[in-house]
């Protein structure tokens, strides 16, 4: 004990602290799933259907099995006892096709697994896969959701000839009266094309079965270790507590690893069958064909307004391309679009319909933004279309319709409760940054010269921090454990599963501030179900807002315990915990956190109503989503001769509540914007009429590149969220959601002097050249 002055450590939250996960990644020593090599390990390769729809007449595995180095070949019959792939969504009347892990009598999409080969190395496995002979009776496929709805279309699943998996309707207010009394109604059909998540690391897993212990050790590149464990154990009939699932370093997820796939169960099954570790690594080509994709909307929007620009009603009919099956969350994704359809606007009358359609394509599911980019694109385009119709400035019409700061918490017509915000303030900041008034003048001058200059605005909102458990399949809470070791070092176990977001750093910042210990004394662990208490995972911009809050609460419990031990050691009832010390308020005497930790484990004497040790676990259930928002503005120019888009300036002002680490926040926003620009300009999973994916490699599917990305000017406003004690909202998807409409609005604005009112994404030079030359 001492009476020396306590120097409070410098606050960590809010600082641009470089990441603690980086040293292993920049030295090439991080362990991704393909880096795992277990002794006696074999390699699996999937045999996949080249047809989108076909009956399987026969499969001949004899040549493959005879190849030297091949250990086994399995077909669907061998895996008939493995449970089907799980869809966690229930909607009234939802048709759920049984999704066996290997097709037995019929294939439903290109890439459908029909057999699996196991061999001594990956080259031999690939050779053997080519030797499996499958006799197909090719059927007619349908790959376009609107064509699938047409009478006489091929049935994806013969038992449901209309190809409709579900319909869904939601109404708010009185939309019929609103439309009947409106001065103006604008309508537009808009496509949010399928996009491929494309994390740089594909999927992959390693299974290692220990029969004597009835125990599985399973490494897989996932965003949801615990949920994946529960589901896989269920599919395989294994005991969950003996199923250790480890998410090693995960090379990007973006929603496509928020899922449990057939291949994971297949690999686990083989390991059990052969009693040897089995590795399977997805090729990029397989990733394009068989990993879930995002979007896939054809949307019919209508917006009704008064002549002064006041929005009175919004309607949308969503045709959702579901693909051939439901993966974990497939049918739920378009319902998020419905929730988000009013955007930031005070529109009380809404009507939304969804038709979920089966096609012979890979399933759609949650991909960065998941339902919200489609809705935000729709409403932000409709507001621009309305402004053009009314000859209003697109900025002015937005100011006119924003939910006002005094209206929070704001109940939307779709049943949400927006937590906090000042939309006009954020928008003003973005307009000032780009110099909106001057830019419009420059645009007018450029137009006189015949140049196609555009200014595109997106004032977007989103639904983050997923989420309240009733709204999220499998629960939306999160967990954290704080273990203070006897030496005073702190170990945090979080139920989220970061894969690039940087919570090993940001969570240590939070803990460092709360406990007053150096950041280097804190270790954040995640992703191993045998180490970490049950958790939900990382998706839906929830890591910090939900997982961080569970951590914050566990830290408060630790602090309470620390004060109890400190009071005992200082023999005082008037003690505060500050700057890593318990301090007697009367005498100024203090005892350090480290000394207290040692005392708590040595336990020579224990405070009343206490127990030895210094550990706390909390599970936190959020009371609401959070609702980040922002304004993105893009200044672009379209080349008349080539249709090429040049981005001149990109300004974004985002309000994500409090910020733990501004450098990481910028990284999330830049990356998100590369997705949104990709959707607007470049990316498109194109299926032909036979269900073949035409853009199935990086050669044909254009991702953002260093030379195609603009320099982004980013700033923030801050309205802390009242939903959680950290006041944070979430940032993982903001850039993706905000950027797409700003880009498209900019290009359409550029082409508007030519009478162009809409072009569907992606805005490739070819499409724009055609629009210019119509």
């Amino acid at each position: 004990m001492s009476t020396t002055t306590i120097t409070r450590p410098e606050k960590l939250v809010g600082k641009r602290i470089r990441r603690r996960e980086d040293p292993r990644m920049i030295t090439g020593t991080a362990t991704y799933v393909d880096d795992i090599k277990l002794s006696n390990m074999l390699y699996a390769a999937m045999v996949r259907s080249p047809h989108a729809a076909a009956n399987i007449r026969s499969i001949d595995t004899s040549k493959a099995a005879a190849l030297p180095g091949v250990t086994a070949v399995y077909t669907g019959v061998d895996l008939k006892d493995v449970g089907g792939v799980v869809c966690g969504v229930d909607l009234p009347g939802l048709r759920k096709p049984h999704h066996t892990v290997i097709a037995t009598d019929r294939v439903y999409l290109v890439g459908h697994t029909v057999a699996v080969v196991v061999a001594s190395d990956r080259y031999v496995a690939a050779d053997a896969a080519d030797l499996v002979e499958v006799d197909y009776d090719v059927l007619q496929a349908v790959a376009d959701p609107e064509k699938a709805l047409a009478p006489g279309a091929p049935a994806v699943h013969p038992q449901w000839p209309d190809n409709i998996a579900f319909t869904f309707e939601q109404k708010g207010g009185d939309v019929d009266t609103a439309f009947a009394q409106a001065d103006v109604i604008c309508k537009q059909r808009m496509i949010s094309q399928r996009m491929v998540a494309n994390p740089m690391e594909t999927r992959g897993c390693v299974a290692s079965w220990h029969a004597a212990d009835r125990a599985m050790t399973f490494y897989t590149s996932t965003q949801i270790p615990h949920l994946a464990r529960t589901i896989l154990a269920g599919m395989l009939g294994l005991e969950e507590n003996r199923f250790r699932l480890i998410a090693p370093e995960v090379g990007g997820g973006f929603g496509c690893k928020l899922n449990v796939y057939a291949e994971e169960a297949i690999v686990a099954f083989i390991s059990m069958k052969l009693g040897r570790p089995i590795k399977w690594i997805e090729s990029r080509r397989e990733n394009f064909l068989t990993t879930i994709q995002g979007r896939g909307h054809v949307d019919y929007w209508e917006i009704a307004a008064k002549r002064d620009g006041t929005i009175v009603g919004i309607k949308v009919k969503i045709i959702q391309d579901l693909g051939a099956y439901h993966q974990l969350l497939t049918p739920a994704i378009p319902t998020l679009s419905v929730l988000m359809m009013p955007g930031l606007y005070d529109a009380h009358n809404i009507h939304a319909e969804i038709v979920g359609v089966f096609t012979n394509c890979v399933p759609t599911d949650a991909v960065r933004g998941a339902g919200r980019p489609e809705a935000t694109y729709g409403i932000e385009r409709m507001v621009d279309i309305l402004a053009a119709e009314l000859k209003m400035d697109p900025a002015e019409i937005r100011f006119k319709n924003f939910v006002r700061p005094d209206q929070f918490p704001f109940a939307t017509a779709t049943g949400l409760n927006y937590d906090s915000g000042d939309y006009a303030n954020t928008f003003h900041k973005a307009l000032d940054m780009i110099g909106y008034k001057r830019l419009r003048e420059e645009q007018a001058a450029a137009r006189k010269e015949g140049r196609l200059v555009g200014i595109g605005i997106s004032t977007y909102g989103e639904i983050c921090a997923m989420g309240p458990s009733p709204a999220v399949a499998a629960g939306g809470w999160e967990s954290a454990t704080v273990k203070v070791e006897p030496s005073g070092k702190v170990t945090i176990l979080t139920g989220i599963s970061p894969h690039g977001q940087g919570e090993e750093t940001t969570f240590a910042q939070v803990a460092g501030d709360e406990l007053g210990v150096p950041i280097d004394d804190i270790l954040v662990l995640h992703g191993d179900t045998s180490i970490v208490q049950y958790g939900i995972g990382t998706f839906g911009s929830r890591g910090t807002a939900v997982g961080g809050t569970a951590l914050y609460l566990a830290l408060q419990d630790i602090k309470e315990k620390v004060v109890r031990w400190g009071s005992m050691l200082l023999d005082s009832s008037d003690v505060r915990f500050d700057g890593g010390h318990c301090i007697d308020n009367a005498t100024g005497k203090s005892v350090s956190f480290q000394t207290i930790a040692a005392a708590a484990y040595r336990a020579m004497k224990i405070p009343a109503h206490s127990e030895p040790g210094l550990v706390a676990t909390r599970f936190w259930e959020p009371g609401n989503f959070t609702y980040p928002f922002g304004a993105h503005i893009i200044h672009s120019e379209v080349d008349r001769e080539t249709g090429q888009v040049a981005i001149k300036r990109y300004v974004m002002v985002d309000d994500i509540g409090n910020i733990l680490n501004p450098m990481l926040v910028d990284g999330q926003l830049h990356g998100g914007a590369s997705w949104g620009l990709g959707q607007a300009l470049w990316e498109h999973a194109i299926y032909d009429d036979t269900g073949q994916l035409v853009t199935g490699e990086f050669m044909d599917y254009a991702l953002a590149r260093a030379r195609t990305m603009p320099w982004i000017e980013s700033d923030h406003t801050c309205t802390p969220s009242p939903v959680n004690p950290l006041g944070v909202k979430g940032v993982g998807e903001a850039g993706t959601i905000g950027s797409t409409p700003a880009m498209v609005n900019s290009v359409i604005d550029a082409l508007s002097p030519l009478g162009v009112t809409h072009v569907d994404m992606p805005l490739t030079p070819e499409k724009l050249w055609k629009a210019i030359n119509q």
Partner: protein, 156 residues
């Protein structure tokens, strides 16, 4: 049928009998056991497998191991000094948050090294041109550009 090759990787000699079809990236990862370099596409389009062969950045998923016979290869594991002191490019990526999931990073580091080897003070445009063959799905590239700029500055 196998062929014998000898390759120097990060200054250390390796000699093996390999199948002629073995890709260099698989040789580096599976035979030499250096798993820092990654496989993102197997078609030379993403650049996660970029290593330096005889002083030139190449995509090791589209080169056979036998083609590297007698060559000197540098991978991400060879960037830092033996003492553990990081290369200025590694420092740049760390300080400027030039990585998120880290999967493209080894390739990005190697290609960044080549950019600066060829041009010690590149413009933003030149950096972007140099990075254009390597894909990153996390960062939007801005912090990678800043990382290369920081490394360039540290080298002056």
């Amino acid at each position: 049928m196998t062929q014998s090759i000898s390759v120097t990787i990060n200054g250390k000699p390796y000699a093996h009998e390999v199948e002629p079809r073995l890709l260099l990236i698989h040789y580096i990862r599976e035979v030499a056991g250096l798993t820092g370099s990654h496989i993102g596409c197997e078609t030379s389009l993403c650049g996660a497998c970029t290593v330096e062969v005889n002083g030139r950045a190449i995509k090791s998923c589209t080169m056979f191991a036998v083609q590297a016979d007698g060559a000197s290869v540098i991978t991400v594991e060879g960037l830092a000094e033996a003492s553990g002191k990081l290369h200025r490019i590694q420092e740049g990526f760390w300080n400027e948050h030039g990585l998120q999931c880290g999967f493209c990073t080894p390739g990005m580091l190697m290609v960044s090294k080549q950019i600066l080897d060829r041009n010690p003070s590149p413009t933003e445009e030149e950096i972007r041109e140099g990075l254009d063959g390597n894909l990153c799905r996390c960062t939007g590239y801005q912090h990678i550009v800043k990382a290369v700029q920081a490394a360039a500055k540290a080298g002056v």
